[in-house]
């Protein structure tokens, strides 16, 4: 052992003596630098991401090692070793920086991808919600259309019923108008019926009155010895009223004429025709004139008694229209006469026919 221990010392001594041909003494700083360098080189991260810096560090380490091999000044070796060690650290730090920068780049890519994913999801969500909204909108539209259809149907029905009600209304109005018209007509008919009734009553009354009057007339004419003939009532004034061949009324005949005048005053609707007749004695012209004069005399007497002239007519018929045989005096006396024809209550007198 002791022998062996002396061998390196002997060798060292030899080498020192041989003029530094043997290994120089250890430099801890240089060892540390080399160790760091080897570690860094072993790490793929550093060798890949910082190759230039690692190479620079290697060169510095070589320089330091050379200086150490040349047994240069220890301070110089320490200096070179320090520089190499720091350059290894720089290479490592550079690798870290590059890795971080790569991470940033990758992360940027990843962040963009995540953002894209997020946006895609948002877009998907938005599209889904849009689809949902669209479906809802379509549903709402369908409902709205259905509602509109319902409303239109209701409107049509309302219009139809309105139309019907209008028709009914107009029919009702027409019926009402007709009813009113009928009512008016009925009331008018009622009125006219009442009027007719009234007229009928009036007519009846008048008829009754006329009847009464006629009875009265008949009574009065009877009193004047009037006779009912086809032409109406005829009053015959006998020859006693006149003197022979005279047209002057006797005083006794005046009473009969007075009665006639009174009758005519009471009945202003009646007219009289005074007809004069003679017997067959004497000339025809004379008899004609005489008959006219006598008829005229009665007329004048009636007018003097207050009867209106237009109501009294006079005519002479001469020997015509004998009522008895002119061959004996009694018959001739009957033929000498004045007949007064009384009109009906409208003033008409039937003319004498035949001759």
């Amino acid at each position: 052992m002791n022998k062996n221990r002396f061998i390196p010392i002997t060798l060292l001594t030899f080498s020192v003596l041989a003029g530094c041909s043997s290994l120089p003494p250890n430099n801890s700083l240089l060892d540390e630098a080399r160790n760091n360098y080897n570690n860094a080189q072993a790490r793929s991260e550093v060798s890949q991401l910082a190759p230039l810096e690692l190479k620079e560090a290697g060169e510095s380490l070589d320089k330091a090692t050379q200086a150490w091999n040349k047994r240069e000044d220890n301070d110089l070796i320490n200096h070179l070793a320090y520089v190499a060690k720091q350059k290894v650290a720089i290479a490592e730090e550079t690798a870290k920086q590059k890795a971080a920068e790569l991470a940033v780049t990758n992360s940027n890519v990843e962040r963009d991808r995540v953002r894209l994913e997020a946006r895609t999801r948002e877009a998907d969500t938005a599209q889904r919600s849009a689809e949902v909204s669209q479906r809802e909108a379509e549903e709402a539209k369908r409902l709205a259309e259905a509602s509109q259809r319902d409303a239109e149907e209701a409107k049509r029905l309302a219009e139809a019923s309105q139309h019907e009600s209008q028709e009914a209304k107009s029919a009702a109005e027409t019926a009402q108008r007709e009813a009113a018209t009928e009512k008016q007509a009925a009331s008018e008919a009622d009125l006219s019926a009442q009027a007719a009734l009234q007229q009928a009553q009036e007519a009846e009354n008048r008829a009754r009155q006329l009847e009464a009057e006629l009875k009265d007339v008949e009574l009065q004419l009877k009193d004047m010895e009037a006779k009912k003939t086809d032409r109406g009532m005829v009053i015959t004034l006998g020859d006693v009223v006149f003197d022979t061949n005279k047209a002057q009324l006797k005083s006794g005949g005046m009473r009969n004429v007075q009665k006639l005048a009174d009758f005519l005053k009471q009945h202003p609707e009646r007219k009289v025709l005074i007809e004069g007749f003679t017997d067959s004695r004497g000339s025809e012209d004379y008899n004609q004139q005489l008959s006219e004069k006598r008829a005229e005399a009665v007329r004048t007497a009636l007018i003097n008694m207050g009867v209106e002239a237009e109501r009294v007519s006079a005519i002479g018929y001469g020997e015509s229209f004998p009522v008895a045989d002119n061959g004996n005096p009694a018959g001739r006396q009957l033929n000498r006469r004045v007949e007064v024809v009384v009109s009906d209550n409208t003033g008409n007198i039937s003319p004498r026919t035949g001759g």
């Binding site: 020192v16 003494p25 000044d73 220890n74 301070d75 110089l76 200096h79 320090y82 520089v83 720091q86 350059k87 650290a89 720089i90 730090e93 550079t94 870290k96 920086q97 971080a100 920068e101 991470a103 940033v104 992360s107 940027n108 990843e110 962040r111 995540v114 953002r115 994913e117 997020a118 999801r121 948002e122 969500t125």
Partner: protein
């Protein structure tokens, strides 16, 4: 051994001084390295090194100060070495800040994604 190197260095310095004396600048002032380191530190500060890698930043700035002092003493070799270390320290600080920021961004996005997923799951039951 140290003594050997000491001697070696002293010899180097002596030879350098000798070279300087003959008018040839064998060890010039590391002005370029100083400028590069200074710019690297500024860049690291801008990247948020003080916030995300305060130890490295402090180390870088302290070494830069020492480099400046060495430069003032015309100890150019030391100044160059210190400046170099300050540069790598600053670079590390800047990288740490950048990687921390990137990791934070990644976390934010992962969180965003998680929230998004939760929202999606909430929205789509």
């Amino acid at each position: 051994m140290n003594r050997f190197y000491q001697w070696y260095r002293t010899g180097g310095v002596a030879s350098c001084a000798a070279l300087l004396m003959v008018g040839c600048a064998s060890m010039p002032a590391p002005s370029e390295q100083m400028a590069v380191s200074k710019a690297t530190i500024n860049s690291a500060v801008s990247a948020g090194g003080n916030e995300f890698a305060s130890i490295e930043m402090r180390a870088a700035q302290e070494k830069m100060d020492r480099a400046n002092r060495a430069l003032e003493k015309e100890d150019y070799e030391n100044a160059r070495l210190l400046a170099e270390q300050a540069q790598v320290d600053a670079r590390l600080a800047e990288k740490k800040a950048q990687s921390a920021k990137a990791q934070k961004a990644a976390e934010v996005i992962q969180n965003d994604i998680r929230i998004l997923r939760e929202e999606i799951n909430r929205k789509t039951p």
